[in-house]
Symmetry: D4
């Protein structure tokens, strides 16, 4: 509440029953609710009871209701490979639910640098950048070096072997040579979007 947004339900490890109960209470009190990491079963249950609720399978988000206000400015979500899509969409969908306009540039991994460079101007125009990548996690470093805006790095658990389920990606991002990059937990698209929304909310309120 302190932030102007109802608490978000972390769906993982909750039964459909538990999620439904919390969801119903949030809808009643706030007229809005968001579930992350929702299983198809939970989604079915919620959307059956709340027809306005929308489930997005790739991101596993259930969204309900509109934000109290729409923020000025854009959150850019860039990501490396197609396997990073669920996390990128968790970020994008959360930011939208919180009132942000979102721009997406996907599949621009650093091993094909020209694809990324082709979007340089569009990336520079965003107010906040969320860079999602797995494996060696280099994308945020390259993006960080391109913009004069806050950049948030999201490591994904995409990779195998020496990737250690994303721990390598996480640690690599934390030792990035790009100044001012901040990092969230592995696969935590939600957290990155929340931080981005706090920034746009500050802009909106400082602006008033």
């Amino acid at each position: 509440e302190r932030t102007g947004h109802p608490e978000v339900i972390f769906g993982l490890g909750k039964t459909a029953d538990q999620t439904e109960a919390i969801f119903a209470r949030l809808v009643e009190v706030h007229g809005r609710a968001l579930v992350t990491r929702a299983s198809p079963e939970t989604a079915e249950r919620i959307t059956a009871r709340f027809p306005e609720a929308v489930y997005d399978a790739p991101s596993r988000l259930i969204r309900y209701g509109s934000p109290r206000r729409s923020f000025k400015g854009t959150v850019m979500v860039v990501s490396g490979g197609t396997s990073d899509l669920p996390v990128a969409e968790e970020a994008a969908g959360t930011a939208e639910w919180m009132g942000c306009r979102v721009d997406r540039i996907y599949d621009v991994g650093v091993a094909g640098i020209d694809r990324l460079l082709a979007h340089r101007e569009r990336i520079r125009e965003a107010h906040v950048v969320i860079a999602v990548a797995g494996m060696e996690g280099a994308l945020p470093s390259v993006v960080g070096g391109m913009v004069r805006r806050p950049v948030i790095a999201v490591p994904t658990s995409v990779g195998y072997g020496a990737n250690l389920q994303g721990v390598t990606t996480l640690l690599a991002m934390l030792t990035s040579c790009a100044s001012g990059l901040t990092v969230v937990n592995i696969d935590n698209g939600f957290g990155a979007a929340y931080h981005a929304a706090m920034i746009l909310q500050l802009v909106a309120e400082a602006d008033a």
Copy 2:
């Protein structure tokens, strides 16, 4: 440059000669320079040649020149214990050098929660919060739950044994139960301040 600030010199592992050379070039080109992790020897050398340069021993920062503009709003730096002071001051000094107004609340560890709560209102008034803590790294979680503003967590290498030179603190902050917290590398006060300054710069430029 892309951000409107000259590159910052990371002093660790550089000789006084190397640092002096880069410093001189930055002063010439930008009229401003910042060194982090400067040794006393390097500081002596630089301040002897550049009398306007100021060395702050606790934070190990050498600052020179004024920011091009002063941002509206305040960066709050809170920290847990007295051993976290060097890192907190690296954050505070960097933010100031970049044009931010800084407010400091130190020695408010979570094991004495009342000391922290006494400052709740002052913390809520800041535009961006940097929370610096070692050991179990709980401070950012508590602070994160108090404010409607972006919070950046800085783990310090203060602790022993199971602390693993700050790695435990870092990982704990990354799994914080407070939404939207972002994290930087261990002892990286500089990086947190840079991210904070990017936020205030956005406020300033979006505001214009």
Copy 3:
């Protein structure tokens, strides 16, 4: 036996057959038995044969018989999130089975500090406190700073990514800045309750 309590059966990895056999022997010899981490199958088998045995699904405990004596004083079990409930209830149920009176305060995570503070007096009145938390594991530090009684921290495996299946929580609790906190293994509600019961048993016997 040395402690005045029969050995407790660790149900994980034991077949229903194995557990039933040990259970029957304990009931015969001691008139009491406790199984932790019991699967529903095992529970069904035991309760079918021993109708007085009670299975509690959330905590996965099977309890049988009454403690030889009831200890004076209260064990307080506080926990952070709803996902920590199974572990908190393993602690609470074990303590009760051993003869302790238990008070429970759940869902008081540190990111919403006011919920926790609302119970401050009640927590201070307990004789021993068991603080159960996952993720960054900050709850025991805050609670530890509030009371003049022994506090036992129980890390849970609730979390993902940088949480490393609770290892981060465990290590964070071990480097807590609250004095005198002791820690048990991840998800080991049983162990914390056992230690708490040893304390109340000491009070009872020293008291005599």
Copy 4:
């Protein structure tokens, strides 16, 4: 204060100046003070200014003043090898300073089980047991199986190679097969003693 004892100064990483200043304040306010991990330099400084302060080189403790009350009952400190002595003495000295009577049994490692068994009765008579051990950390498991009292395990950083500076010892103690053992950080004799004193304080106050 909440516990009836002034805050204890952790000497590691503090200058003689810093420690002296905090020490002087504690003496003034409480008439008592304790420094752990004090360097010889700091000790010299403090004892020069406060002649009543006592420095014990092996444990690196500086003690000043008497406890407000002496608790009934005994804290037993057992330890494995001679290299564990500094940690064992940190525990013993802290417990004494807090008002506990302490009994010591040192050099009773598990590879010579008869030496330990020779003291079985004396160990069983204690109210609380602190078991200090390095290397494989087996001592607390054996002791834990002998007594009907709370046992606190202290891993030490004694060992090399696969010992990983005590992390192996710590983790081994956390997975002990003795019920109800609790564990503190590596080399944290202070923390174990503090927990033990909280137990004896409870006995004393519950007793009143």
Copy 5:
């Protein structure tokens, strides 16, 4: 062959087809074969075709044929908990298949030291001791301190949380304070038995 024993088939990750093929070849060439970690399916297949082959479900061994010679002396297998049984039996069965006489003492964990001490003389009479334990892995240290014979420690993956799937047990055994203990991989009862058999073979051949 170099050792006088045919190569042993490691069943894990091999299909019934693969195992059968290698088994048949070994039987043909050597008249003897041993499979470790055999699944029930593989066992069924092998025993159907080779009626003399014997499958032991707890140890997952399939044994076929008799050793060329029976060694003088006894291999003692001691183990801590009932969950360690499969590994202890892998050791015992392998040693027998190689020509050793085996003595077994199970369920003598260090937290109930008297059960272990009751067998002290019998353990001292063995020629080689294999000590199998999970959790904190203390058993080999205590046993090692009792005998004048080679002791081989086998860590098991029995435990949870801080046990790290047996890695903690393994590392603890490697830093044992008992002199001359050697260690094999986690759950590697086979390897310990092989080493023990090499010792008895040496005794036999040096003896001749």
Copy 6:
């Protein structure tokens, strides 16, 4: 010898005496020698006795004699930051001593992608590329995506905190999204150069 080059002396942990003795023998037998990680003391000793030996302080190499043949083609050494220079030069110097022509492009970190892109054509013309980088280790991924030649990645121990003395960099490079990258040990410029020289030697000999 098998490769056509004398064994190279790894100077770390060898006394000046030891290194000198081996060096003298190599010079006598092969008329050539190379020492890596030579301390200034060792270098002084060697160059005093062998005036033709050349010590290069940044790379810590002592080189003596000329390669038997000069290979066709170029080894390109690119590196990220100035702190990576010693490792980059160990690679470059070793390659030269083995008969390779070397081209160097230093200080082209990925956070300033334009500096790197400015050299794209020159990099593509090389026969083999060695990419040296510390911190997040992204440089080899970007370079790998630019060329049709074998690329060898060298992680350096440049970084702090989450960098874990280069282990993070190493693991990140191993999970690179660029196809066909191979990796050597942390700071092992020598090994990368040796592999590169084996490639040019193959070209030369296959060519003949």
Copy 7:
């Protein structure tokens, strides 16, 4: 493309639908395609639609089309145990698809050194050697000491316990005492083959 080969599809974690779509596009554009880590389901789907596509179950490769050119020289794939076969075949199949002639020597683990030595001459005749091994990963060290050609080491995840899913094998290969060995990620036969093909392509093009 930059390398003269179409991008290769990493099948793991892709649905049959996703893989089929990318496959169809690659076939259309390049007339060639390769899928690694293809599940049987995906293979069935692809081979039904593209009858010329060939699925090899052990290596999980789907190959389609012929290389633009066949390189001169041979890639030798040697491997340690039968469990390493899938990875060895991923390397061999990839190299063939890219235009390399491949020679295979399997089941030559270092614990039976004579089997390996029997092939010494054949191994020395290859242009590039890929050495695949699990467990302690010693094979590439021994092979590396035999040849005057580039050697690429591939660690496999074959092993248990202390093997840590191949991480031990990986790290062991990176600290090999054989000069000039380079290493790829765990189980990454594809990557090793790609590097080998880049070497033969260089030979071919430098040769022209």
Copy 8:
């Protein structure tokens, strides 16, 4: 004592005073003593007071007195590189002090397999083999495949980067593909020799 040998003094972390006191007591009681990891200072002190004591600088052993009996048979110590010498000599010297005849073959690393093979017969004649190696730790695997005798592997902390101070070597040896290898802690030449002596003692006593 239980083994027929006085306890051995581990010199690391003991002052010259402490070591001297224990040494004097052992000499008095047993007429024999052994110190491992003795510093030059300690050695000087001991040899000044006990002129018969012999200090060997490379192995850091101080030996005093003769074994009660000399065992039949030979302990072979083989090692990989010259840097492994201190550990190999700790093993050799300890074995001699305990009554074993020792044969040494040093500098036979697996990357030059012929040097090792040249000694194959001599190695096969030993009764027990101790194989000492750093880096990838492959030597014991190759040796283990050559002999019909017990083999003990000693990992050394020789290596850098991915070697992780010998932890990689240790884990690699534990997952060796040679049957029946047992392993001791990193750099623990003493422990390997003790195990070897227990074997020869068994041979001697079983023989009698």
